[in-house]
Amino acid sequence: MTDVVQRDLELERSAEEAWRLLTDPAWLSTWLADEVELHCVPGGAARFRLGKEEHEGWVEEASPPSEDSGGQGRLIFWWGREGEPASRVELELTPLPGGRTLLHVAETRPLELLDLIGLPVPGQRSPGYGPALVAA
């Protein structure tokens, strides 16, 4: 079982305009975290400050809206507190009628199972996170 948290927000702007909200550190610092550094290429480093917490991570995918993708844009990155399994954040832009855009957010912890069975977890730099997955 994978834990997932999902949210949707409709934006009164095109997917191309909305892409800046997801990728421009100046915009990201207004809503995603207090400080954001994000190198928007696959494998690019990411750093987030949330209050007193530092999250580090990396970019899995950064696909701006394009005709090839049917106007969809997708940014996927991983982040996590040091010593805990990283979680995966997917931000997806889908064009809606009338020049509007749906922002869909999904944060998952797909790697907790790896951690549980003792395999190294990408994004986790120090051990010590015990079994936490639930029998459900």
Partner: protein, 115 residues
């Protein structure tokens, strides 16, 4: 049984107000009257939310004079639940900040566990 229970838990936590109530009770065991005094909803609405959180097994009830005091149950699902409650609350705040910055209507939310 476990899967049904997980569904009940995730349904109970899909609502931002119920997550807020759970967080408040986790900080300090409270009665419906005490919770209603600190939140922008009626005591009746609080009681309804507390009842669905109790049915999901997330809250325990203790008599406190003529009132009932609620405490958080250490559930078998507590790791998933606390992660989802914490992360869900964070995204609610982030998307509200984004909507505010853009002058858009408030975000909608769903939280669930997927097989």
């Amino acid at each position: 049984m476990a899967a049904e229970r997980a569904d009940a838990v995730f349904d109970a936590l899909a609502d931002p107000m119920r997550r807020q109530l759970l967080a408040a009770i986790a900080q300090r065991p409270s009665t419906a009257t005490e919770l209603a005094a600190t939140l922008p909803i009626t005591r009746q609405a609080v009681a309804k939310h507390l009842s669905s959180l109790s049915e999901a097994g997330l809250l325990a009830r203790q008599r406190a004079g003529r009132d009932v005091r609620y405490t958080v149950t250490p559930a078998p699902l507590s790791s998933a639940v606390s992660w989802m409650a914490e992360v869900g609350g964070q995204w609610d705040r982030r998307l509200t900040r984004l909507a505010d910055a853009l002058g858009e209507p408030a975000p909608t939310s769903t939280s669930r566990s997927q097989a």
